[in-house]
């Protein structure tokens, strides 16, 4: 499939003043149809770079021979231009390198359209070209089409001019008043869309920084243990959920926590951040998982959040060839263990959910893992996952782990994740988290 450029719409920009009523009506209707196409084409573009490219794609060819978009970005001016042969050029210049009296500077400061006439035989450094196109890189291709006029129209929204559109036609063609009015219309449509993408980018940046702390972290690489995880949120559009996991510590002594905040989406995610931080803080003093949950419970009770959290916390230490885990739980599903012979067993460990009772106390159970043995923690989103005939169920997890047997922990988790995904199809589901720990050889 090759690049397709619309054939130039005939007569869209030609002066129609001296023509008959029929032709003028036709041109007006063609222009309206063109603007509607532009609006449809731009409606889904929410990234500024992409929207800029779309505008140039729709403008150069169907309407004009060369165009430049200027966008102010903090203290810089970003330029992107396109010519009829489909070639794109980009440049960025510091704001103070735009001469104050130039055509572009005037448009940016006043918001009023400006027309520069280009003398015959103007070269790349001719003042009239520099006045509207300050970047030498962009003037190269512009000069080759020998423009007569350079028309610059402001892009304004939210009460500010934040950019400009500069356009040119090949040798001998300029712009009459009616054409200028139509292009101003076009620029107005474009200005609002482009501004939306800029506003989105600003809020997206804030969201990205804030949510970085609330999404599952990259797990550390520790000697003698391999981790594998699976994580899926209920509300895909928010990309944040109420399930969480975390691993921290040293090769000799580390902590893993998996939990589930009652609720979904952003509100739940904010609380997961709190719990994870509480666990990390407590672990600096004492890694005993029962102590960790005791204190996390008290932290939650002092807060104003009226919600509960289930969690399971394990401390891992290298003992001989394998690992020794101490595990404490707060209203959380019991973990599953895959032994070296491929058999699967449950770890009986229980406790009250966090954030409910002042008097809750937690205790831990011990678990030894030989090389290649796995302990798998999960949230109730896994067994509760709805399917075509039934819920996923605890039995299904056991069966899958038995079928996979003793093998790489990534394969064990992926086996469940694949079956779970097929089971869910596109049904709505709760947040889902799996974190598995496998004792591995010290290499």
């Amino acid at each position: 499939m090759s690049r397709t450029t619309d054939p130039r719409t005939p007569g869209l920009l030609e002066p129609a003043a001296e023509r008959g009523a029929q032709e003028r009506l036709q041109q007006a209707s063609d222009r309206a149809a063109y603007l509607a196409r532009v609006s449809r084409g731009l409606s889904g573009a929410m990234h500024t770079d992409r929207a800029v490219d779309l505008v140039l794609e729709m403008l150069v060819g169907p309407l004009v021979d060369w165009a430049q978009l200027t966008i102010l970005d903090r203290r810089e001016h970003l330029f992107r231009s396109r010519s009829l042969d489909g070639a794109d050029d980009s440049a960025r210049l510091p704001a103070d390198e735009i001469p104050p009296g130039s055509s572009l500077a005037r448009v940016l400061s006043t918001g009023v359209t400006d027309l520069v006439m280009v003398p015959d035989g103007a070269d790349t450094d001719s003042p009239s070209l520099v006045s509207a196109v300050p970047s030498a890189d962009l003037r190269e291709r512009l000069t080759s089409i020998r423009p007569m006029d350079l028309l610059t129209i402001a892009l304004s929204a939210r009460g500010t001019t934040y950019g400009a559109l500069t356009i040119a036609q090949r040798g001998g063609h300029g712009f009459d008043a009616e054409t200028v009015a139509f292009l101003e219309d076009f620029a107005h449509w474009v200005a609002v869309t482009l501004d939306t993408t800029r506003a989105l980018a600003e809020s997206r940046r804030v969201t990205a920084v804030l949510s970085r702390e609330l999404t599952p972290p990259q797990l550390p690489v520790l000697t003698g243990v391999e981790f594998a995880t699976y994580y899926r949120v209920a509300f895909e559009q928010e990309a944040l959920g109420g399930d969480f996991y975390d691993v921290h510590g040293t090769d000799e002594d580390w902590t893993v926590v998996v939990g589930d905040v009652c609720g979904k989406g952003v509100e739940a995610a904010v609380l997961t951040g709190k719990v994870r931080q509480a666990v990390r803080t407590v672990c600096l003093v004492d890694r005993d998982p029962a102590r960790v949950l005791d204190l996390a419970n008290r932290v939650l009770l002092t807060g104003s959040d009226e919600t509960f959290v289930t969690a399971i916390c394990a401390r891992g230490r290298r003992v001989g060839d394998g690992l020794h885990l101490e595990i404490a739980a707060a209203g959380h599903p019991e973990p599953l263990v895959v032994r070296a012979d491929g058999s699967v067993e449950e770890v009986a460990v229980g406790g009250t959910v966090l954030g409910l009772l002042e008097e809750s106390r937690y205790s831990s159970v011990g678990l030894d893992l030989g090389i290649g043995e796995t302990c798998l923690f999960y949230t109730d989103g896994v067994p509760e996952a709805p399917g075509h005939r039934s819920r996923f169920g605890d039995d299904r997890m056991r069966e899958l782990l038995e079928a996979t047997g003793a093998c790489a922990v990534q394969a064990q988790v992926e086996g469940i994740a694949m079956a779970l995904s097929a089971h869910l199809s596109d049904r709505a589901h709760d947040d889902i988290a799996i974190l598995a720990v496998q004792a591995s050889e010290v290499r």
Binding site: M1, A45, E57, E226, Q237, A406, A408, A411, Q412, E414
Partner: protein, 348 residues
């Protein structure tokens, strides 16, 4: 300079590690080949790719269980991910490297082809955002909005997911971003890719660079599908689990009438149960791409899989008849099923 190796031996050894579920050995082998000067694209081309084909064959022939196949695939994925992490420490993409997003189609679980493509493109100097398997349509569009990539590459392995591929092509083009599709769900001529509105079609990872460079910087929204069957495709896809139940019921009933019955070994029934939603889905795939060969190919493949599991000889024919019966309310799908049958089996 790289040390010469006999790749077929390397593949045998690697496959052996995969079969044992031994990630450590698989990773050691790949690391030592890398230390001998074979770069990641080379390893994908000569070792991981061919090994993965063999894994698929071993499952089809019932030599490996489905759990063993999944485990093997997961290990190759984690080996490739480990290599990617190691390489990222050595080389970072330059600040002005063109950015692309590589993703699997929604619900698609075959992540390895997309992962291989992502690693190949990283090797070519692209800044790649790899979204992995089972990324949602919303998640994909969110990433496109955030990153503003110059293109999205969408991998689809199962023809049953082609209706979702179309949805994602629509969603990505809505943002103005060109979308390249690839994977075993597409035909070599690019017909299916064209019909669903992709900006380009990648047959293999290896020519992708030239292809990406030839893409327009922005694309208009995908035009609506107008061919007969485009609407039915979503009906079939949405109902595929229920339709699969219907097909299973009709099939078992018709085989019970057969003197040979369903056979003594019922393992094939379990495999059929797993595969039926995909088979019904392949009808949806054929409808959305206006390509009936998808259904005949899927049925031929299913017959081979079932034969290896001792299904009765009449199963293939009975399966076609059952699909035809289950889809009788849908005119285009019915025509398509009739087209996929031999002359003698067609209803009068």
């Amino acid at each position: 300079m790289s040390v010469d190796v006999v790749w077929s031996h390397e593949v045998d050894g690697y496959l052996d590690a995969l079969g044992r579920g031994d990630r450590g050995s698989a990773l050691d082998q790949v690391r030592s080949l890398r230390a001998d000067g074979h770069d990641v694209p080379d390893l994908i081309r000569h070792l991981l790719g061919p090994a993965q084909l063999r894994v698929g064959e071993l499952w089809v022939s019932d030599t490996w269980s489905v759990a063993r196949e999944h485990a093997a695939t997961a290990i190759s994925e984690s080996v490739l991910t480990a290599l990617a992490v190691e390489r990222e420490r050595e080389v970072r993409p330059s600040a002005d490297a063109p950015r692309v997003v590589v993703s699997c189609v929604e619900q698609e679980w075959h992540a390895l082809p997309a992962l291989m493509l992502a690693e190949h493109l990283r090797g070519e100097g692209y800044a790649v955002s790899y979204l992995g398997a089972n990324s949602s349509a919303q998640g994909l569009v969110r990433h496109v909005h955030e990153l503003g990539p110059s293109a999205v590459l969408l991998s689809c392995s199962l023809s049953a997911f082609l209706p979702l591929a179309r949805r994602q092509v629509e969603a990505v083009r809505e943002t103005g971003t060109p979308v390249v599709v690839g994977g075993s769900a597409f035909d070599a001529d690019g017909h299916r890719a064209r019909v669903i509105g992709a900006s380009a079609f990648a047959t293999t990872a290896f020519g992708t660079r030239a292809l990406l460079e030839s893409l327009p910087s922005a694309v208009p929204p995908a035009p609506p599908l107008t061919h007969p069957g485009a609407d039915e495709a979503y009906t079939v896809f949405g109902d595929r689990e229920t339709l699969a139940d219907d097909v299973a019921r009709i099939l078992v009933r018709s085989l019970a009438d057969d003197p040979a019955g369903v056979g003594d070994d019922e393992a094939w029934l379990q495999v059929l149960d797993d595969q039926l939603p995909h088979l019904v889905g392949s009808v949806a795939g054929a409808l959305i791409t206006d390509d009936p060969t998808i259904v005949s190919d899927a049925l031929d493949w299913a017959e081979i899989v079932l034969r290896h599991r001792n299904a009765p000889a009449a199963t293939g024919r009975a399966l076609r008849q059952a699909l035809l019966e289950a889809l009788h309310d849908l005119p285009v799908a019915t025509r398509l099923m009739i087209g996929s049958m031999g002359q003698t089996d067609r209803p009068a």
